[in-house]
């Protein structure tokens, strides 16, 4: 029912020959971090969720355009505004032989919503699930839920019988003395079976011979190796020890591109990077301006925005791999509004004039908080910003730190000026608006609105879209909210990241805007010149 209007997804199919006989193919790949656990609800980490999706399936999934298509449910309908009926795919078996039934779905939703689950957020607004018959499940929502289907793409279905047998009805307790069975064992309905796992060394998955689906790709065995050191990852790809690297370092891209055996696929990520400002405190915590908060003044926010030379950042720091933007969300996300994608041009004089008008002719001092291991070149961008803002008279001190400390700090709103990036997991603008723009209320709204931007008109729009059943009306609310975000300079937008994936020439993959490698679309062709 929800169709993204924009489908600018980079689809790379390489030399896929339709109808060619599929041959057994091992796909060896690497990235920085390791799989954390195969208990699908015990960690909420993007890479871990991706990896679990090879083994565990959901009721629905995304296709290449990020439209929702059937996975374990073949069709669904709305019985009432708060009740959805899902018809399960018949004759699906878990990898250890148990048939998939409505009981498993109800069990999984309850388990994902249980006390210790780390994945509860994906069930926000879902009241519960009820079995209708063996192959039919009803999902109840608290109110109308326009993004329910998108939420369900990350609700993975486990076998009730298997969980009971192995004593993993409860999600991992990190205070327990022993590991639980589900950490290193998995039993899903998915296309791959977990064969072996050694943390930080190697994880091997084999194709599931009993899988219900027909795979587009031809990978029969997945060998995943985490390689923490960036240079070593590049070396392993160049030497042919791995076929694919999810996160090649930017500085190595020219070398990789110039190698005859390697290709680099660049795709837009559904993530924007931006700068937030404390717009609530009466006096900024980290500034020399006393007794008032300059960021409450729209002119000051605009001045800083005018003072950003985003093209220079793109050219020098990002080596062309960024798309400057003025809108909170990217074109891949449902609700994207081209009219709201407006950013002021780089204009030092205009910025100075605005500052003067606002009563800061000599600028002021402020600290910019920044992560240094989260986004592409994050700390370098912030460093560039400090010198750009110096030109308009601001004295900006940079405080860059690792993400583990950074987010703990800014989520306490212990910041005056900060960098944040947001990838819209549900591919629906509402998610970004609720988390980043709605006034923080401690009840799930404005959780990442760390500068406490607040506009009653904005809150009204967001609250209304959450329960609006009419697709057209809802879309226009989203557009209005995005427009308001741009006009208010709720955040100073920087750019959309472009994510490069590097691989041997014989590999064909579909680049995904959420940076997830969907294994069922990967094709390994012959003749890769491996050593």
């Amino acid at each position: 029912m929800l169709k993204p209007t924009h489908t600018a997804v980079a689809v790379m199919l390489g030399a896929l020959v339709i109808g060619a006989p599929l041959h057994a193919a091992t796909f060896r790949w690497a990235s920085q971090g390791d799989v954390l656990t195969f208990d699908p609800y015990a960690q909420n980490e993007s890479f871990n969720n991706t990896f679990n999706s090879y083994v565990y399936e959901s009721l629905v999934m995304y296709d290449k355009k990020f439209d929702v298509v059937p996975q374990l449910a073949t069709k669904w309908e709305q019985v009432s505004p708060t009740q959805w009926r899902f018809h399960l795919r018949p004759n699906v078996k878990f990898q250890e032989g148990e048939p998939l039934t409505a009981d498993d779905v109800v069990f999984s939703i309850n388990r994902q919503n249980s006390k210790r689950s780390m994945m509860k957020a994906y069930l926000a607004g879902i009241a519960g699930a009820k079995k209708v018959d063996d192959l039919t499940v009803d999902i109840m929502t608290d109110g109308p839920a326009p993004v329910l289907l998108r939420q369900l793409t990350d609700v993975r279905i486990m076998s009730k019988a298997w969980c009971e047998k192995h004593n993993v009805v409860e999600v991992q307790d990190y205070l327990a003395k022993e590991e639980t069975y589900a950490v290193g064992h998995a039993n899903g309905t998915g296309p791959y079976i977990l064969k072996s796992r050694e943390p930080d060394v190697k994880t091997v998955l084999d194709k599931n011979p009993g899988w219900w689906g027909k795979m587009e790709g031809n990978v029969t065995q997945i060998v995943y190796t985490p390689i923490k050191s960036a240079a070593t990852r590049t070396a392993a790809l160049l030497s042919g020890e791995v076929d694919f690297v999810l996160d090649p370092p930017l500085q190595d891209l020219p070398k990789l591109k110039s190698d005859a055996n390697i290709k680099v696929v660049e795709g837009q990520e559904n993530r924007t990077i931006f700068i937030g400002m404390d717009q609530k405190s009466d006096e900024l915590k980290y500034s020399n301006v006393k007794g008032k908060n300059p960021f409450k003044d729209l002119r000051v926010r605009q001045a800083l925005y005018y003072g950003m030379d985003i093209e220079a950042i793109k050219r020098t720091l990002m080596r062309g791999l960024s798309i400057p933007t003025g809108e909170l969300i990217t074109p891949q996300v449902y609700g994207y509004f081209p009219e709201a994608n407006k950013r002021p041009p780089y204009d030092v004089n205009k910025a100075k004039a605005l500052l003067k008008e606002a009563g800061y002719p000599d600028g002021f001092a402020v600290t910019l908080d920044c992560p240094n291991d989260r986004y592409i070149n994050d700390a370098l961008i912030c460093q560039a910003l400090t010198s750009m803002w110096a030109k308009i008279g601001l004295k900006v001190t940079l405080d860059a730190m690792p993400k583990a400390q950074y987010f703990a700090k800014i989520n306490k709103h212990d910041t005056s000026l900060y960098m944040l990036g947001w990838a819209v997991a549900t591919f629906d603008a509402q998610d970004a608006l609720i988390n980043l723009v709605h006034t923080p209320d401690g009840k799930g709204n404005g959780e990442y609105n760390d500068g406490s931007y607040s506009n009653p008109k904005m809150d009204a729009l967001i609250d209304a879209m959450k329960t609006e059943g009419d697709v057209k009306k809802r879309l226009s609310m989203i557009h209005d909210a995005l427009m308001l975000h741009t006009q208010d300079v709720a955040h100073m937008m920087l750019h959309q990241q472009i994510i490069p994936w590097a691989m041997r020439k014989n590999i064909a993959v579909t680049h995904s805007a959420d940076n997830r490698l969907r294994m069922w679309w990967v094709h390994v062709n012959e003749g890769n010149g491996k050593q």
């Binding site: 656990t37 909420n44 780390m118 994906y122 205070l175 590991e179 930080d200 240079a231 583990a404």
Partner: protein, 328 residues
């Protein structure tokens, strides 16, 4: 002798407690694991609940106290990152680190001592001069650079050796070894050189300067006057007397090899304790960090003890001074 060892064990316990206390007082600055575990969409209630469950809302000395009590019971908790018991994780990683460290130390000794002796005996030969200049490189180049250079040459350009990992390992009980398979041995070469190079050059330079000094002493001159053969003088008298400082340095360096294999392990994705620790730091995996730091403190204390005992073996004066050391 027994009293000496007992005293050392008591000191070791104190050292480890202090290390753990310092570690816990620092952990509150390394970040918040809850943030990483729950991801970006977690509700505030969930964050509060998990923080409380993990005891992270307690002052560090309370957390430290719980750690010590659990450690006395042999419990080090579960890794927040990969959900496995810390003791199991460390036990799985120790073989990789020890094999690499011992190979690196052996390489350093096997090449460093002969090279140092040679450079000491023939200080003006071209080979000695070349060795000395090369050793300067080994001392001054940072480990990660050496590792990357070796990978570039031997894995990427020549394609002879693997760029990362430990190859195939054979399990002998709880010990996993890479010494019994071809890929395991191949994988060991580059990390061993990377880790051992600094120690090698250090030992070589140390032996050389000690040799030069000893060769000037009266008893060597006397030995020559007695008409002893060069071989007996150089190895029987001179080398033996250079060994005390060499043993001290080697012992202390073995501790640092184990402790600072972190960088080599990271460059080569070598699945040892150092890599585990680095991963733990970036994930704020407090149970793993705490246990690792204590273990490293234990390693250092143990090695120092062994070094002290070795003095008895090498230096007869110590034995003569202390009749209590009659165990030898």
């Amino acid at each position: 002798m027994t009293a000496f060892i007992l005293r050392r064990v008591l000191q070791a316990i104190v050292v480890m407690l202090v290390v753990a206390l310092v570690a816990f007082s620092l952990f509150q600055y390394v970040g918040d694991p809850v943030q990483l575990m729950l991801g970006q969409f977690a509700t505030p209630e969930d964050r509060v609940r998990l923080t409380h469950e993990l005891g992270l809302d307690q002052p560090f000395y309370v957390q430290f106290f719980h750690f010590v009590v659990n450690a006395i019971h042999g419990q080090f908790g579960v890794s927040l990152r990969i959900g496995k018991p810390v003791s199991v994780l460390l036990a799985q990683r120790i073989p990789a680190t020890l094999e690499l460290s011992i190979c690196a130390a052996l390489l350093a000794l096997a090449v460093g001592i002969p090279a140092g002796v040679y450079a000491g005996l023939r200080p003006n030969s071209w080979l000695a001069r070349t060795l000395l200049s090369l050793s300067l490189l080994g001392v001054s180049l940072p480990t990660f650079l050496i590792g990357i250079l070796l990978i570039l040459v031997f894995a990427v350009i020549l394609g002879w050796l693997p760029a990362f990992g430990r190859g195939e390992v054979v399990h002998l009980g709880w010990w996993s070894t890479g010494l019994l398979s071809k890929t395991g041995l191949m994988s060991l070469i580059l990390p061993t050189i990377t880790l051992g190079l600094f120690q090698l050059t250090l030992i070589m330079r140390l032996v050389r300067s000690e040799m030069l000094e000893v060769l000037r002493t009266d008893y060597i001159k006397f030995a020559r006057a007695r008409g002893l053969r060069d071989r007996a003088i150089n190895f029987g008298h001179a080398l033996k007397n250079t060994l005390v400082p060499v043993i001290t340095i080697t012992g202390l360096q073995l501790g640092s090899i184990i402790a600072f294999s972190i960088i080599t392990e990271q460059v080569f994705q070598w699945p040892g304790m150092g890599l585990l620790f680095i991963q733990a730091v970036s994930y704020v995996d407090i149970p793993v960090m705490a246990a690792y730091l204590c273990l490293i403190a234990l390693v250092f204390v143990t090695i120092n003890l062994i070094v002290d005992l070795l003095y008895y073996v090498v230096d007869p004066r110590l034995r003569a001074d202390r009749p209590g050391g009659s165990g030898h």
